[in-house]
């Protein structure tokens, strides 16, 4: 008896120590940063979206033989998770808490042959969930296996009479089933789209190949081909659409595809949502993945490269990026709701992620590097953000406002929150509030719409004032015109009118260019001070335009303003032009000297500058639909100034029309040449400095 008690006690003791060991606390530190992209494709600090919840290795799953090179994970939508344990050639059935229920490792055909699935890459379930579809990559086939007895019901191989020009093997990598029971099979080496089979395994068609994107290379090859012999053409690599890397079917039966991308910054078209006729129905122009890139001494070390996609139960797009080891989550409108993950040897980061799956809002990443499944749960922030996005479509403005305010509380950087609050304010008719929020959200179109409504209100509230203001402006214009007219009248006995004094001459040349510039040679009416003022004004007006153009038309941020850029595109351009023109015209027997060219060019700018000021004013009142008016004013200014400059140059150089055109074209050419030389010089200096610096450093160490 005593013995039994001792045994029981020992067992209890062992058990209790064991249980304490098993209750290890999870590590909660997320080894990655939270961020969102703003309108300018810059990453901005944001709360972390998902955080690690669990890490399930073979031990935790209760497996005797450890998982090896797993390749796919699948949730049946109810209570079972399947992992394709490719290295061991088996399929694991697990509970949603990742305890193993059943292992499928023997697959017999009707004839009693054993099918091996080692190296299989893709796994899917039939519509009624009674059968597996296995993309048995190494055997070049797709197997349909009944779950109840592991019997192979069907073996789909490469269809025979294909009208595609390839001998590639049917090395199926991924397989999925849509809601009509059609089976989609992806073969990496065949890039005309996915093979579609019906439920009986009959080949139907190819579906959804990526479109060929016109690049410089395609164009070059097209041109080259015109001049090549047949033999040479054979050597040329054929431009083919890139094959997509994975797919998933959403609840409406639309096929989502992802493709790996190897450009510096992510491009559009890496994620597509295809309707039954194979057309992409996602909003055009959406770019998924990281929008910034890592400069490593001018080379790029990593790309965003999607290898798996999963559409969760709320329709969110979850993407697995193998390039940087991240998971991205987007709404169907392409708004990023979360990004997380990194490559590292830390909890919550990856070694070799191969597939993702979602159960509810949790995301599961299958990692073939550590042979584990890592689960992530959304933080409060992402949960709230998701509920906010779903409310954005509804008319319940109160609930929407509440939830967006909550988002703002957690992240005052969130452009989405300002957008949401703007939308709510707009719906409530609070247009100034809406405009303020849309401005913070960087939403130009929506701002413009709210501005239109606000303007409507403003006009109906203040129409008397507005009419008065318009009258005053009209009267002022009339008076100004009268004054100019009066001053232009020649007083008897004088050769020149009151307009033709040195001070008013810039105005005079704008109205009478040929006569005005003609007087430069005979009278002292060139004002250097006026020239300076005009050039400085140009700079100031450009600066004013940068900051004060109405938000609807203004993509500039104060942070992006550069003194030198503005200076170059005003005063710099001016100097470049006059120097070039002077150089060209001296060679071409132009009569104008340097000072005359400078003053003529400056005086010609006046109409352009006036129109620019008017444009700034208009941009603050008009909406995007009325942008044509602003454009019109801009064109008037340019044409007017251009005409004056042309007449001016022809007058001072005493050129014919043809000669003037020629000299202007040569001037522009010369300007380009100077720019080119400057850039060349700059690069050379930079390279030399770098070289010398490196050489000195190396010498000092020897």
């Amino acid at each position: 008896m005593k013995k039994i008690i001792t045994v029981v006690l020992t067992v209890l003791l062992v058990f209790s120590t064991f249980s304490i060991q098993a209750f290890a606390k999870e590590v909660t530190y997320a080894p990655y940063e939270g961020y969102e992209y703003n309108d300018y494709n810059e990453s901005v600090a944001a709360p972390i979206g998902y955080i690690m919840d669990g890490n399930f290795n073979s031990d935790a799953m209760g497996l005797e033989v450890e998982i090896k090179e797993p390749s796919d994970i699948l949730f049946d939508g109810e209570d079972a998770v399947y992992i394709l344990d490719s290295g061991n050639g088996r399929i694991l059935e697990l509970t949603t808490t990742f305890r193993v229920v059943k292992i499928y490792d023997e697959f017999l055909t009707e004839l009693g042959d054993i099918k091996k699935i080692k190296g299989a890459q893709g796994l899917s379930l039939s519509l009624d969930k009674s059968c597996f579809y296995i993309a048995n990559t190494q055997q070049c086939e797709v197997l349909k296996v009944r779950r109840s007895d592991s019997r192979v019901l069907q073996c789909i191989t490469k269809p025979e009479d294909l009208d595609i020009n390839t001998n590639a093997d049917f090395a199926a990598t991924k397989v999925t089933v849509d809601n009509k029971g059609q089976v989609y099979v992806l073969v990496k080496s065949i890039n005309v789209g996915a093979f579609v089979f019906d439920a009986d395994g009959e080949f139907l068609k190819f579906f959804g190949s990526n479109p060929i994107v016109a690049t410089a290379e395609t164009l070059r090859n097209y041109l080259l081909k015109r001049f090549m012999t047949k033999e040479q053409r054979k050597g040329l690599t054929r431009i083919t659409p890139t094959a997509f890397s994975n797919f998933d079917v959403d609840e409406y039966g639309f096929l989502y595809t992802v493709s790996e991308d190897t450009s510096l910054v992510s491009k559009e078209g890496t994620v597509r949502r295809l309707n039954y006729s194979g057309n992409d129905i996602l909003k055009s122009g959406l770019v998924f993945g990281d929008l910034e890139w890592d400069r490593l001494y001018g080379t790029v070390s990593k790309y965003t490269s999607f290898i798996d996609i999963d559409i969760d139960e709320d329709g969110y797009i979850n993407l697995l990026d193998k390039g940087r080891g991240k998971v991205f989550q987007y709404t169907t409108d392409g708004k990023m709701t979360a990004v997380f993950g990194s490559y590292n040897d830390l909890n919550g980061s990856f070694k070799n992620p191969v597939a993702i799956e979602t159960i509810g809002t949790e995301i599961y990443v299958l990692d073939a590097g550590s042979n584990t499944v890592i689960s992530f749960k959304p933080t409060d922030y992402t949960t709230t953000l998701r509920s906010a996005f779903s409310l954005l479509q509804s008319t319940d403005t109160k609930a929407s406002k509440e939830v967006w305010t909550e988002i703002l509380k957690m992240n005052t950087n969130s452009q989405y929150a300002y957008y949401g609050l703007g939308t709510v304010a707009d719906q409530e008719g609070n247009y100034t509030e809406a405009m303020k929020n849309f401005k913070l959200a960087g939403a130009h179109q929506e701002y413009s719409k709210s501005l239109r409504e606000y303007r409507k209100e403003f006009i109906s509230d203040n129409y008397i004032l507005i009419i008065l203001a318009l009258v005053v402006i009209a009267v002022l214009v009339i008076i100004l015109v009268r004054i100019i007219k009066k001053k232009s009248v020649l007083v008897h006995g004088t050769a020149y009118s009151a307009m033709e004094t040195k001070a008013l001459f810039p105005v005079y040349t704008s109205l009478h260019p040929a006569d005005g510039f003609g007087q430069f040679r005979i009278r002292d009416v060139m004002s250097v001070r006026a020239t300076l003022i005009i050039v400085v004004s140009w700079f100031l007006i450009k600066t004013l335009a940068f900051f004060n153009t109405g938000f609807a038309f203004n993509n500039n941020r104060a942070i992006d303003y550069s003194f030198f850029t503005t200076l170059f595109f005003t005063a710099g351009l001016f100097i470049l032009f006059v120097v070039s023109n002077w150089s060209v015209c001296t060679l071409l027997n132009g009569k104008g000297n340097f000072k005359t060219i400078v003053v003529t060019t400056a005086y010609s700018l006046i109409p352009y500058l006036l129109c620019e000021i008017v444009k700034i004013g208009m941009s603050n009142i008009l909406t995007l639909e009325e942008s044509a008016f602003i454009g019109l004013v801009g064109i008037i200014g340019l044409l007017w100034s251009g005409m004056i400059l042309f007449i001016g140059l022809s007058t001072i150089h005493e050129y014919s029309f043809k000669e003037t055109v020629g000299s202007v074209l040569l001037t522009i050419l010369f300007m380009a040449l100077i720019c080119f030389l400057l850039i060349l010089f700059y690069t050379l200096i930079q390279q030399t400095v770098n070289f010398v610096r490196s050489a000195i450093a190396e010498l000092s160490l020897r």
Binding site: A24, G348, L540, S700
Partner: protein, 750 residues
């Protein structure tokens, strides 16, 4: 070619060794006798046999050693438990593979580079004492009064490394005599791993390794995780070698202490000399490693690389090596042997606390538990005047607005607020120049405004720490900044959060050369005194540790801690109240309050558990706060972390609307407008501070994990706090704890 031959030789030796070591060892039969000679069969080569003899004995310990080879063992007289420098069953080890197998036999492992390889920046070689010394019979063991001295002569590299092992009371110390090392002509020593397998647990034992990473981490023996060896610099990496794309976001080791915790016996090590220049190394048992152990590495030099001719086809890397710590006497680790109730991490924390009290002068600081607040003063923003750019100051919180925030907190029931005012001086949060004068920004209300705020906080039983960053600044003379071995200025550049590349449009930080720290801080002290400021917060002084490898002002980090101790002592002697941020152990003893103490670990995959070791050591002596709740990844967890360790709550506040930060370099301070959190925070604080007032000056006497994500902390006065990190409620001893919540139990006074 030479390298190839070397590698081949090594492989051959390893293979031969394997074929030899297939014998079984006899376990020591009783613990009272001299430790058994290992691996005794007739075929065993003499080189592998360890013959222990008694060297010396005191009231607590007996030291045995092999006087031919230098292996030793210690007996804890209280329990009779034997701790071996080389695992006693090492000859039966068929699991460990590669060079690591030699390390299991060794007392030291030396890392070195050949001088001829330095320029080409090729790799670091390692040589263990077993392979390089004992095999060739080059270990010379001398007895001394209380121990032995072993001169390890590595013939291959013509290098002599003397190490002393001695007992003193209940302590055992191992000391590498740095000043007596005779380095071979062809090599540079870069690091020495001391006692890599002292006290190791084998694949049959159960136990844990204590790693002081972040708040503190435990590795279970034989957790089977296949990962590389854990190795991390204590007090953080140097600042002068920064990767171009760096995505490691991790915690730092703040305390130079480690332990092997077995069932009833625990071996703890404290690096007592040279801790500023040391690493912690840990190995776990898995398919390729039989033993679990944690040890220390003395880091002496480092091989730095530079890319030459960056954008040309001649692009290549060249290397150079940093300098030896001249005048450094020794690298010393003191081991203690805990048993019974103390043989756990709380016991280790207690012993380490005693060490800090006795050796480092840790005292109980007289602080009232307070609600901690970071207030952001001013930032710089870009502005233009007539098209010309300039940066101007923008106030986030003026001194009178700060008063308003404190008033509102008071109205919500939160009293005793300790404020750390960041960006109140020196161009705001930018910290543009090396701080010379403690002068409040006039934009925020000037010196008089600051004084008013000081008076206000004093009246309201609060405290106002003026924060200063003495180590980092963005512009100014480059003569006194840290440079790397290539004499390039060491810079800290902010990174893109998405792809971790450097942000090129922001001025990077430079670091003050360590030899100038005391000069700069003394000047600042005078200025503070003039202003009548007595409460000072150093946001970086306690948390950084680095060398200056430049040509001038060269300074080895071995001496860094001494420099900081000197500085902080000066402030303490001048009656300053000192607040630090995430402080290293040597600085922490001078602090009255430590902001931002680590509550998490780096989360390395090798770790099994996170524990608040840092807090257990210092709780009751120094006031501590957790990470700012507004910046925490999961703020609810952050608050529970405070409760678990009896720390103060920390919030970040600004008066302006936080949207002004968007599109500035300060966008990471989002959502810190105080109105966004004040209601929720005061509700939490009012409940929690009732508890904190009872426990803030009490030591933590017990801490354990009750079940998954549920922890229990017991304080000196018997108050028990149980924290539930699960989202769902749990029931412990009949009491229900809601999800993400805590309960307290009053206990009997002890």
């Amino acid at each position: 070619m030479k390298l190839l031959i070397k590698v081949l030789c090594c492989l051959l030796t390893v293979i031969t060794a394997f074929s030899v070591i297939t014998v079984t060892a006899k376990a020591p039969e009783t613990l009272d006798i001299v430790p058994e000679i290992m691996g005794v069969t007739d075929e065993t080569e003499d080189t592998y046999l360890i013959k222990y003899e008694k060297i010396t004995e005191n009231d607590n310990l007996i030291l045995y050693a092999d006087t031919k080879r230098g292996h030793f063992a210690l007996k804890n007289k209280a329990t009779g438990y034997l701790w071996y420098s080389t695992p006693n069953d090492v000859l039966t080890d068929e699991t460990t593979i590669g060079l690591e197998k030699w390390n299991t036999h060794s007392q030291i492992v030396v890392e070195y580079v050949y001088k001829e390889d330095v320029l080409s920046a090729s790799g670091v070689n390692t040589l263990s004492s077993q392979l390089g010394v004992v095999e060739s019979g080059n270990a010379e063991v001398k007895k001394s009064d209380n121990g032995i001295r072993v001169d390890y002569f590595f013939q291959e590299i013509d290098t002599l490394i003397p190490v002393e092992y001695f007992i003193d009371g209940d302590e055992f110390s191992a000391s590498i005599k740095l000043s007596e090392i005779k380095e071979g002509k062809e090599i540079y020593i870069t690091a020495i791993n001391l006692l890599p397998y002292f006290g190791a647990g084998n694949s049959n034992e159960s136990g844990k390794l204590l790693i002081p990473d972040g708040s503190g981490a435990l590795i279970d023996f034989n957790n089977g995780i296949e990962t590389s060896v854990y190795r991390k610099m204590i007090y953080g990496d140097n600042v002068d070698s920064v990767a171009d794309v760096d995505n490691t976001k991790s915690e730092v080791i703040r305390m130079p202490v480690f332990a092997v915790i077995k069932e009833n016996n625990t071996l703890m090590g404290v690096i007592t000399k040279g801790d500023s220049s040391a690493s912690i190394r840990a190995v776990n048992g898995n398919d390729s490693r039989k033993y679990n152990c944690v040890s220390s590495i003395c880091e002496l030099r480092s091989l730095q690389k530079m890319v030459m001719f960056k954008n040309s086809s001649n692009r290549r890397e060249i290397g150079s090596i940093t300098k030896w710590p001249e005048n450094a006497d020794c690298f010393e680790v003191t081991y203690k042997f805990l048993d019974g109730d103390n043989a756990n991490y709380v016991g280790v924390a207690k012993e380490y606390r005693n060490y800090l009290i006795e050796e480092k002068g840790l005292t109980k600081s007289e602080t009232t538990p307070s609600f901690s607040l970071d207030i952001y003063g001013a930032i710089d923003v870009e502005a233009t005047f007539l098209g010309v750019q300039y940066s101007k100051l923008k106030s986030l919180t003026t001194f009178s607005q700060a008063e308003e925030i404190l008033d509102e907190l008071k109205a919500e029931g939160v009293e005793n607020v300790s404020v750390r005012y960041l960006g109140w001086s020196n161009y705001g949060l930018l910290n543009k120049k090396l701080p010379k004068k403690a002068k409040a920004l006039s934009k925020l209300g000037g010196n008089s405004g600051f004084k008013e705020l000081l008076d206000y906080t004093a009246e309201n039983d609060g405290i106002l720490y003026a924060d200063v960053d003495l180590l980092r600044f963005r512009s100014g003379s480059k003569k006194t900044v840290v440079k790397n071995i290539f004499n390039e200025v060491a810079k800290h550049t902010e990174r893109l959060r998405s792809v971790y590349a450097m942000k090129l449009n922001i001025d990077p930080f430079m670091y003050l050369s360590p030899d100038k720290i005391s000069e700069v801080s003394d000047n600042y002290l005078k200025s503070l005194k003039k202003q009548g400021i007595t409460d000072i917060s150093f946001s970086t002084l306690g948390s950084y540790c680095y060398s200056n490898n430049g040509k001038k002002n060269t300074f080895h980090r071995y001496f860094f801690a001494l420099e900081i101790e000197k500085t902080l002592k000066n402030y303490k002697d001048n009656d300053f109240n000192i607040a630090l941020d995430d402080a290293n152990a040597y600085a922490a003893v001078y602090a009255d309050r430590i902001y931002n103490t680590p509550v998490l670990t780096s989360g390395c995959s090798i770790f099994d558990e996170e524990i608040p070791f840092y807090q257990i050591v210092l709780h009751g002596y120094t006031a501590m706060t957790v990470e700012s709740t507004t910046a925490a990844q999961e703020y609810k967890v952050n608050i529970l972390k405070a409760v678990e360790s009896g720390s103060e709550l920390l919030y970040s506040a600004m008066y302006e609307d936080s949207s002004v930060l968007t599109n500035t370099r300060y966008d990471l301070y989002y959502s810190t407008n105080y109105k966004l959190w004040i209601d929720e925070a005061s509700e939490i604080a009012v409940r929690y501070y009732d508890l904190l007032r009872k426990i803030h000056d009490k030591e933590i006497v017990s801490h354990r994990t009750l079940q998954e994500n549920v922890c229990e902390t017991v304080f000196q006065n018997g108050i028990k706090v149980i924290v539930n990190y699960n989202e769902d409620a749990v029931t412990i001893n009949g009491k229900t704890i809601e999800g993400l919540n805590y309960i307290t139990e009053e206990g009997a006074e002890e």
